[in-house]
Symmetry: C2
Subunit: 220 residues, 2 copies
DNA sequence: AATTACATGTGAATTGCTTCACAAGAAATA
DNA sequence: TATTTCTTGTGAAGCAATTCACATGTAATT
């Protein structure tokens, strides 16, 4: 393990999230026909400081040209590399209900390299049905099918009551990253990454903000 | 404006998010039959330090009993008050597509006081149709209907291409909080709160984590 | 009533993140 | 080629968030 790799362990979550933002904005700038962009312009579009943009990038190398700025296409490529999105990720969705099937229909994921290739449910009425060309598999076959299909990430959209059981199954199948939508604290082994998408939390934040005239520094 | 109000302006976004987490865990503890809970136990369930829990709460008052801990029901009530969720929020969903209709079906929101009472779309095939007992209104009537229904929050689930126009309309209608699902940087006046729900960003974070063996301090 | 055990609430210390400020380098201009 | 203009990359400074550590207080026990 090199020093560089150790370095990356210190990158903050905020920095990663901002890299995602830069990536999206760079795609937009590319479409708008810009060849280069300064940290100042990038910062303006994200409501950040130019120093923040430069510092974030500096953790990974130096990608700009002094006096000129960054080459839009090049920087976009570098960030894709950093984020690991210059490749295809094979994903399974577990729980094909309201939210699960909405996610399956979302073409933008595919365009970004997040390929949903397997769907699982335990409801006999859903098993065998077709969503955007993918047949819903029986949850009973989860482990084998996940392994056979080389799935590395799972989007979990089952009821909170069964979410932990499904996580355990998914982990057993060798999946290393889970995006969970159930409002519950899940346990995963240390080598499995778990992110929670919690919409109620965001509504609660808005509620607090209105009630208290909240004005924090950085709002996502 | 009192000193207390000014105080609240300094509360960090992380603290608010943790209050949401505490609230959910307290609800669970209540169901599990616990009368009291210590900062230690609460912290354990959230993977935080006890000091963090106590510090978060200390910004708003002192709710515990030394030697004993916090009364579960009481603390839950206090946090509900702080977050402003001890009341009903009237919400409209704009854009009744894949994700919009999934959200409308989500009963948990209602249980938490987030009442979705109006739906809007611009598609003639959707206008007039019924979702969970609510008729989809024509987006043309947005301003009047939002005002008449006393809507204070909007969930925005329209394509990114039209999201800014819809925000402008919604702001004009007097809405003070927006939860946006379109992957785009929206502009709102300073007195309107905007939160973005960005699922791609979470997948990108997972991608980065796998590729770099990322081990940050606090993971959501 | 005294003692023990336990857990809060909070200044102080520490850690982490953001912003500052400027030397250094590249491009454009004269 | 020299000069001006512009913008990066980065240590240092400043600020914000987290954790420490303990005085204080309550309840349970003897
Ligand atoms: N719908 C929303 O807008 C929304 C919003 C926020 C959070 N969530 C959360 O997302 C999750 C899914 O919500 P939903 O509204 O789509 O619910 P849903 O009931 O529509 O979908 C859940 C799906 O999971 C399947 N399922 C149940 N047990 C299973 C198992 N053991 N194995 C495999 N599949 C199983 C069900 O058959 C169903 O198809 C829930 O945890 C919910 O709390 C939903
Ligand atoms: N589906 C997902 O899983 C998902 C995931 C992440 C983000 N998003 C984002 O959420 C948004 C909605 O996605 P979706 O998949 O539900 O799309 P969708 O096309 O299914 O739904 C969009 C809805 O908005 C309506 N609409 C379009 N223009 C409108 C206007 N001017 N006024 C009112 N309504 C209008 C359409 O008629 C449609 O019903 C998009 O911005 C998308 O990028 C979706």
């Amino acid at each position: 393990m090199t020093t560089d790799t150790n370095l990356k362990k210190r990158i903050s979550e905020s920095t990663i999230h901002r890299l995602s933002m830069y990536f999206r904005t760079l795609s937009l700038l590319e479409k708008e026909g810009f060849d280069t962009v300064s940290s100042k312009e990038l910062a303006k579009r994200e409501k950040l400081t130019p120093a923040q943009v430069r510092k974030d990038l500096s953790f990974f190398g130096s990608f700009g040209t002094r006096g000129l700025g960054y080459d839009v296409g090049e920087l976009k490529g570098k960030i894709a590399e950093i984020l690991g999105i210059n490749r295809v990720w094979r994903i399974a969705v577990v729980g094909i209900g309201n939210i699960g099937s909405a996610l399956v229909s979302y073409k933008e994921f595919t365009r970004q390299g997040f390929h949903i290739v397997k769907l699982f449910d335990n409801d006999q009425r859903k098993i065998g049905s077709n969503h955007k060309g993918i047949t819903v598999s029986d949850i009973q076959n989860l482990e084998k099918e996940i392994r056979d299909a080389n799935i590395e990430m799972v989007i979990l959209t089952v009821p909170a009551t069964v979410a932990q059981y499904m996580v355990d199954d998914v982990v057993r199948a060798g999946v290393k990253a889970i995006l969970n939508f159930a409002p519950i604290n899940l346990k995963v082994p240390p080598d499995v990454y778990l992110r929670n998408e919690n919409m109620s939390m965001e509504l609660e934040y808005l509620s607090f903000a209105i009630m208290n005239n909240h004005t924090p520094k950085n709002v996502r």
